[in-house]
Symmetry: C2
Subunit: 269 residues, 2 copies
């Protein structure tokens, strides 16, 4: 049984189903417990999601969130307390879980997650990938300059060492960081992760575990042609549709558009 964590509002239910469909189809020998942290889903939406996941032989667990826990937590202009869910999941997940794989809903999982899930993270809080494309890297590194980060990890795919997190992450450190830097934070949870924990993250290969679907040509060029379409389809585990333009929107266009729509059809129709 593999543990997967998702955090969600209603707008993302359809993409979540597409992501889950791709996960289930490409990992048919596995069963999953999908832990869901949410603040606004209706009971109809939750029941529908429960049925959907059961129909695929896996199960849904709604994570109970004690709101009083966030009484002292600062919020930002466009972000609610939900921005802390991913980072503080370890507080709300069952004690017996030692690891969980967090996945964003704007993802397709197109190969087996086994190696990713079983990555050795004994000495780390997380495993994640950073996007090495220079503009992404530099902008974020400079923004969080004072925290002396080497890499700016993407928080869309996070393998979590829950045991270690329970021992060493203090929510007050996070809340204080947000208070102090609220004007600088663009992607709050990702920024927090990097500023506070960058050195305790095990680096994953982004081509396999967090392939930014906008940059097909870049990956291919950087690897002298090795990371071509054949390589991606056979080897990449997580295709991540980063950025503002999403493949479920009308105006989208990109290398993996047809593939996304293919999974969307399987998931929703």
């Amino acid at each position: 049984m593999l543990n997967v964590l998702v955090t969600l509002d209603s707008n993302y239910i359809k993409p979540l189903k597409v992501m889950l469909k791709s996960l289930f189809l490409n990992n048919q020998k596995e069963r999953f417990t999908i832990y869901l942290m949410h603040s606004s889903l209706t009971s109809n939406e939750l029941n529908d999601l429960d049925d959907y996941i059961k129909a695929h032989g896996s199960q849904l667990q709604i994570v109970d969130i004690d709101d009083s826990y966030f009484v002292n937590a600062p919020t930002l202009l466009h972000y609610t307390k939900a921005m802390y869910y991913r980072l503080l999941a370890f507080k709300f997940l069952p004690e017996e879980l030692d690891r969980i794989l967090y996945l964003d809903p704007d993802i397709l999982v197109i190969n087996s997650v086994n190696e990713l899930y079983n990555t050795d993270i004994k000495k780390y809080l997380y495993a994640a990938a950073y996007h090495d494309l220079i503009p992404i890297k530099e902008v974020n590194r400079l923004r969080l300059n004072q925290y002396k980060i080497d890499a700016y990890y993407n928080s869309g795919v996070l393998l979590m060492n829950l045991e270690r997190q329970r021992l060493s992450i203090d929510e007050n450190t996070i809340f204080e960081f947000v208070e102090k830097n609220h004007s600088k934070l663009i992607m709050p949870d990702q920024d927090i992760l990097n500023a506070l924990y960058s050195k305790q993250i095990k680096a994953l290969d982004e081509k396999l575990y967090n392939y930014d679907a906008r940059y097909y040509r870049y990956y291919k060029m950087k690897t002298n042609g090795i990371c071509d379409m054949d390589y991606v389809i056979k080897n990449t585990v997580v295709l991540h549709f980063c950025g503002k333009r999403k493949p479920w929107k009308k105006s989208y266009s990109g290398k993996f558009h047809a593939l996304y729509k293919h999974y969307e059809k399987l998931a929703l129709y």
Copy 2:
């Protein structure tokens, strides 16, 4: 049981398997008899294909071809007698078949073929689609000018009315046409089909049954945006990778590259 015809040499076995995989996956309630006309496949290759098709719950039938039949048939520089297989299939297929769907191997079948297969063709020899993009249409129309064709049909997807063909197609008409026009013929079987039988072909909607994968933008523009990626993935039955650049080649690039590679992985690995 649906009848499908393919004609093949060894170079196309892999693409054929990909095409068949897509056909089977998207038509899981159907069973198919795949009739194969070939001249050069080894018994190993044929056994492998037989196993592959059986594993998907369908069956392979090798069509017996009497070579003496082609003794008087003219050939062209780069083409063998195999160029006649598609047009003269009705001579070699079992008497009891009344219709068959011919499919090129450079195709993905991404939705149900039922409506296509059951198209009313009582009054026609074939059903096929023509590609309405002006350059394709005009070049071919002008080349076969004297035969006064209105449309130049693509022969990659051909629904055949075998009963009517047995009554009205004479191989000598075809052989004479080739003798007379050998210098003009670029795609011989397709040219013959159009020059001799264009008026007895029922026109199919190319967007549904013979979508030229090179021209996504053209289809979308021509339909004021209706035929977008969502429409294609949900409605198009046959995606046809026309032209010299093929999606199983290293250098390929195109809108449906990732989708092709996805089916290729399912079919071959």
